[in-house]
Amino acid sequence: MKGTEAFQELIPLIEDEPVVHANGFICRESFALKDREANFYMIGSMGLASSIGLGVALCKPDKKVIIIDGDGNVLMAMGTLAMIAAEAPKNLIHVVIDNEVYESTGSQRSLSNKVKLEEVARSTGYKNVLRVEKKEEIKAAFLKLKDSEGPNFLLIKVEPGFDPATGRVTHTPEEITDRFMQAIG
C-alpha cells in the first residue's frame, strides 16, 4: 500500500480527537485529505510529535489523543517511546506510517527496514501494539486500539510514493496553535 492509501483509510476513522502530526509528508497528506481544527501540524522540530502528543494526553486525560508519526521521527526520538510507556497515558494512540525512507528529502533510507519499530514499542511497555501491511487491515486495527486502554501503538507499513504535488499546510504556525487550543478546549 502507498502512504496516501494508508491516509485514505485512516483519516475517516478520526472523530473529534486531537491529532498531533509529525512534520514532512505526514502533515501534508493529512491536511490535503481533511483539514481539521483539532489537527496540530508540525512544520519542523522533527522527532517531537510524540512528546507533544504525550503532553496533550497527560493534560487532557478525558480525550483520546492521536499521534501520527513517521519512521524517521520515531527513530530520532526513540527515548520518547520510553517516556510514553513509563507515563502510560490510557488515552494515547501512537500511529506510525513507516515507509522506511526519509521521503520528503529524497527518499534516503531510514533504519526501519532492519529495526522493527513495533517491537521497540512493545518492549518499552506500550499496552497494545499492532502492525498492519494491507490497507484493508487498518480500520479494524485502529478501532481496536481506540477501544482499548493505551498507550497503544499502530505501525502501518507502506511503500514510498508520496506525490510531491500534495499541497503544504497553508495555515501559519500561530494559526495552527490558536485553532488547536480552541478546538480541544
Partner: protein, 187 residues
C-alpha cells in the same frame, strides 16, 4: 508554608526565604503546574521538591522525567496546547539540544514555557565539558531572541513577574538562569 510564602510576597522575598521549597510553591502559586526536564545537580533540590509534591499530591502538579531536553520541550508544548502552563528544568548543556525546538516550534508557533536552566561553567570554573557552554549560553539565548534573567534571591519576584508577562502576553518562552548555590543540592 503557602501562607507564609504569600505573606512574604508583599515585602519581597528576603535572603533567607528563597529555598527550593518556597520557590516551587511560588511557581505553583503562579499557576505553573506541569514540570518536566533533565536533571542537573544545581536543580536537584527543586526536582526533589517537585517529586515530593507529586507524592503528597498537595496540588494538581506533576513532574515528568524527560530523556532529553528537546523531548522535554515537546512535552511542555503539548501541556501548553492542552491548557496547562509548563516549566522546563535543565542544565545549560541541554540548551544545544533545545535550540531547534525553540526556533522551529516555540518561537514561530507562539508557544511559551518557563525555562529554568542551571549555569554550569560560569567564569570558566567547572569541569571541561561545561566551560564553552557556560561561556556562550546567554549569547545563544540572545541570538535566538529569547529573553532571560539570572535568578537571585533579590530579584525573584521581579523576574517571575517579567516571565509571566512574556509568557502570557507575548506567548514566548522565558528563561531563568540558576547559578550554583542558589538552591540546595540533594544527592
Amino acid at each position: 508554608m503557602v501562607v507564609s510564602v504569600i505573606s512574604k510576597i508583599g515585602k519581597g522575598l528576603n535572603v533567607s526565604s528563597l529555598t527550593s521549597q518556597s520557590f516551587i510553591e511560588r511557581l505553583i502559586q503562579e499557576d505553573y503546574k506541569f514540570f518536566t526536564g533533565v536533571p542537573c545537580s544545581l536543580l536537584s533540590g527543586l526536582i526533589y521538591e517537585l517529586e515530593d509534591q507529586n507524592q503528597n499530591q498537595k496540588e494538581e502538579i506533576r513532574y515528568i522525567p524527560s530523556v532529553r531536553e528537546d523531548a522535554a520541550v515537546g512535552l511542555c508544548v503539548g501541556a501548553y496546547l492542552a491548557g496547562t502552563m509548563p516549566v522546563l528544568l535543565m542544565q545549560n548543556s541541554g540548551l544545544g539540544y533545545c535550540l531547534n525546538a525553540f526556533t522551529s516550534l516555540n518561537l514561530i508557533y507562539k508557544i511559551p514555557a518557563l525555562v529554568i536552566m542551571s549555569w554550569r561553567g560560569k567564569a570558566g570554573k567547572d569541569a571541561p565539558e561545561h566551560i564553552i557552554m557556560g561561556d556562550i549560553d546567554q549569547e545563544l539565548l540572545k541570538t535566538a531572541g529569547m529573553e532571560y534573567s539570572i535568578l537571585s534571591e533579590e530579584n525573584c519576584e521581579e523576574v517571575l513577574k517579567k516571565a509571566k508577562q512574556k509568557i502570557c502576553e507575548e506567548k514566548l518562552p522565558y528563561t531563568l538562569i540558576v547559578e550554583k548555590g542558589l538552591f540546595d543540592e540533594r544527592h
